[in-house]
C-alpha cells in the first residue's frame, strides 16, 4: 500500500509528463505542417505550436480549476438554503478530519447526483456538487462523498485531473482545426515538395487521428486506481465506509441520468462517470486501459469489505 505522500509525488510526476507530452504532440504537428506547407524553411509553425502548448500548460496549471468550474456553470452555495448550508458545514467537517485547508464550495444545477474536486494544491482547491446530490443524499452519505473529494485533494489527484481536463480540451480543439486546415490545403496546394511530402502527409494524418486518442490516454493517466484510493481516504476520514457505499448505491440507482455539462475533457473529474459510458462497467484489460472510472459495484463491494459486511 502506498501512502499519500508517494501518491502526491506520483501525481506531480504524471502532471509534468502530461505537460511534456502535450508540448511534444503539438510541436510535432507544427513541424509536420511546416514541412508540408513550407518545405524546409524556417520552422515558424513549429515555434508557434510549441509556444501555444507551453502557454496552454501554464494557463491550465493556474486557471484550469476556473475553466472547469465555469464549463459546468458552477455557482457559489446559497447559505439561506438549508441543504446548501449543510453542504458548507460538511465540507468544513471533512477538511478538519483530513487536516487540509477548507476548499471553496460550488454547486451546479443538475438533477443527476454527482460531485467533483478541482484545483492545483491544498491551498487552491474547490469542491463542486450537483443539486441532485444534495437532494438525494442524507447527511452521512453527503459526508462520505465529500470525504472522497477531499481525498482527491489531499492525494493531489486534482492537479493531474485538472491539467488533463484543460489540456485535453485544447488538444481536441486544435486537432479539429488542423484536420479542417489539412483537408482545405490538400485540395488547393499547387506545388508538391516531392517524395517526402507523401510520408509527411501520412504522419500528419496519423497525428490528427490519434490526437484525440492520446487525449483519452492522458485521461487514462489518471487511472482507476485513484478512485479506489479516494474511496479509501473517505473511509479514513469518516471512519464510516458504509456511508460512501450507500451514497454510491444511490448514485447507481440514478445511473440513467447523465450530467449534460460534462464533456470528454471533464468526465474523469467526477465521483462517478457523468456520461454513463458502458466501458466503465467492464473489467477487461481494454476497459482497464481506457476507462475513466472503476465499476461502481466493485467500489461498493470494497467499501463494504472495509466495514466487515459482505
Amino acid at each position: 500500500m502506498i501512502d499519500f505522500f508517494q501518491q502526491q509525488r506520483i501525481n506531480k510526476w504524471k502532471t509534468l509528463n502530461i505537460i511534456l507530452l502535450s508540448i511534444i504532440i503539438l510541436g510535432t504537428i507544427g513541424y509536420a505542417v511546416d514541412k508540408i506547407h513550407f518545405g524546409n524553411q524556417f520552422p515558424a509553425i513549429t515555434i508557434v505550436a510549441i509556444f501555444v502548448a507551453v502557454a496552454n500548460s501554464i494557463i491550465s496549471y493556474f486557471y484550469g480549476d476556473k475553466m472547469v468550474l465555469s464549463s459546468v456553470m458552477a455557482r457559489p452555495p446559497d447559505t439561506s438554503n438549508f441543504k446548501e448550508q449543510q453542504l458548507v458545514n460538511v465540507v468544513r467537517e471533512m477538511s478538519i478530519a483530513s487536516g487540509i485547508p477548507v476548499p471553496a464550495v460550488f454547486v451546479m444545477e443538475e438533477a443527476s447526483p454527482n460531485a467533483f474536486a478541482t484545483g492545483r494544491d491544498e491551498q487552491h482547491s474547490s469542491i463542486c456538487v450537483t443539486t441532485g446530490l444534495l437532494n438525494t443524499m442524507n447527511r452521512e452519505e453527503l459526508q462520505g462523498v465529500i470525504a472522497h473529494e477531499i481525498g482527491h485533494i489531499r492525494n493531489r489527484d486534482i492537479l493531474t485531473m485538472t491539467v488533463v481536463a484543460a489540456i485535453t480540451g485544447a488538444i481536441v480543439l486544435l486537432s479539429d482545426w488542423a484536420r479542417r486546415n489539412m483537408l482545405y490545403s490538400s485540395r488547393t496546394r499547387k506545388k508538391s515538395s516531392g517524395k517526402g511530402s507523401g510520408i509527411l502527409l501520412l504522419i500528419v494524418l496519423i497525428l490528427i487521428i490519434i490526437a484525440p486518442l492520446i487525449a483519452r490516454v492522458m485521461a487514462m493517466a489518471v487511472s482507476r486506481a485513484r478512485e479506489y484510493m479516494a474511496d479509501a481516504a473517505s473511509a479514513e476520514f469518516t471512519r464510516n465506509p458504509l456511508a460512501l457505499a450507500s451514497a454510491l448505491e444511490k448514485i447507481q440507482q440514478h445511473y440513467d441520468k447523465i450530467v449534460d455539462r460534462a464533456t470528454v475533457g471533464t468526465a474523469h473529474l467526477f465521483i462517478s462517470d457523468p456520461r454513463n459510458s458502458r466501458i466503465n462497467n467492464d473489467e477487461s484489460f481494454f476497459a482497464n486501459l481506457f476507462s475513466t472510472h472503476p465499476p461502481i459495484h466493485k467500489r461498493i463491494m470494497i467499501l463494504k469489505n472495509m466495514a466487515g459486511v459482505v
Partner: protein, 185 residues
C-alpha cells in the same frame, strides 16, 4: 582522490536524508498543533451556540426545563473550568446532554417544523462533528508523529533534537457512556 569524492558524495547524501527526516518530523508536529487549535476553536463555537438553541426551543419544550437548565449549567462549567481534567469532564457532560436533547426533539413535532430550530440543530451538529473529527485528526497526527520519532532512522534525528512523544487525546469517560433518554413523558 576517488576515495575522497565517494566520501563527500556519501556525506552529502546522508546530510540530505537527515534534513528531509528532520523536516518531515517537524511537519508532523505542526499538524498536531493545528489539530489541537481546531478542537479549541470548535469548543468555543459550541459555547456560543448553546444559549441560542436553548432560547429557541424553550417555548416548545415545556416539560424539559430541567434538561435545558442542566445544559446551560454544563456549558457555564465548561467555560469557567481552568484545569484540563475539569474542562474535559464538563465538555463530555455537555456532549452527552446535547445528544439527549436532540433525541427528545423527536417528541415535539412542532420543533421539527421550525426552520430556526432546524438551522440551529444543524449548526450544533456540525460543531459536534467538527469537535469529533478534530480529535480524530489530532490522534491520527500524534500516531504518525510518534511512529516517526520511534522508528529508524527517525529515532536518531529525534534523539539529537530531543523530540518528545505526544499524548493522545483520550475520550472523557462521561462521553463514552451512552446518554440515557427519558421516555416517560
Amino acid at each position: 582522490m576517488i576515495g575522497l569524492t565517494i566520501f563527500l558524495v556519501v556525506l552529502v547524501l546522508v546530510l540530505l536524508i537527515f534534513i528531509a527526516l528532520y523536516n518531515s518530523i517537524v511537519r508532523s508536529r505542526i499538524q498536531i498543533d493545528n489539530a489541537w487549535a481546531q478542537i479549541d476553536t470548535q469548543l468555543k463555537r459550541r459555547h456560543d451556540l448553546i444559549p441560542n438553541l436553548v432560547n429557541a426551543v424553550k417555548g416548545y419544550m415545556k416539560y424539559e426545563q430541567e434538561t435545558l437548565s442542566k445544559i446551560i449549567e454544563a456549558r457555564n462549567k465548561a467555560i469557567s473550568a481552568t484545569e484540563f481534567g475539569d474542562k474535559a469532564k464538563a465538555e463530555g457532560e455537555l456532549s452527552g446532554l446535547l445528544t439527549r436533547l436532540f433525541a427528545l426533539f423527536e417528541n415535539y413535532p412542532e420543533l421539527k417544523a421550525s426552520q430556526n430550530v432546524l438551522n440551529l440543530q444543524e449548526q450544533l451538529t456540525t460543531t459536534e462533528n467538527q469537535i469529533a473529527f478534530a480529535r480524530q485528526h489530532y490522534n491520527d497526527s500524534v500516531m504518525i508523529y510518534n511512529t516517526k520519532i520511534q522508528t529508524f532512522p527517525g529515532n536518531i534525528v529525534a534523539s539529537i533534537f530531543s523530540f518528545k512523544q505526544r499524548e493522545f487525546f483520550e475520550i472523557p469517560e462521561a462521553e463514552k457512556t451512552v446518554p440515557q433518554v427519558n421516555l416517560e413523558i
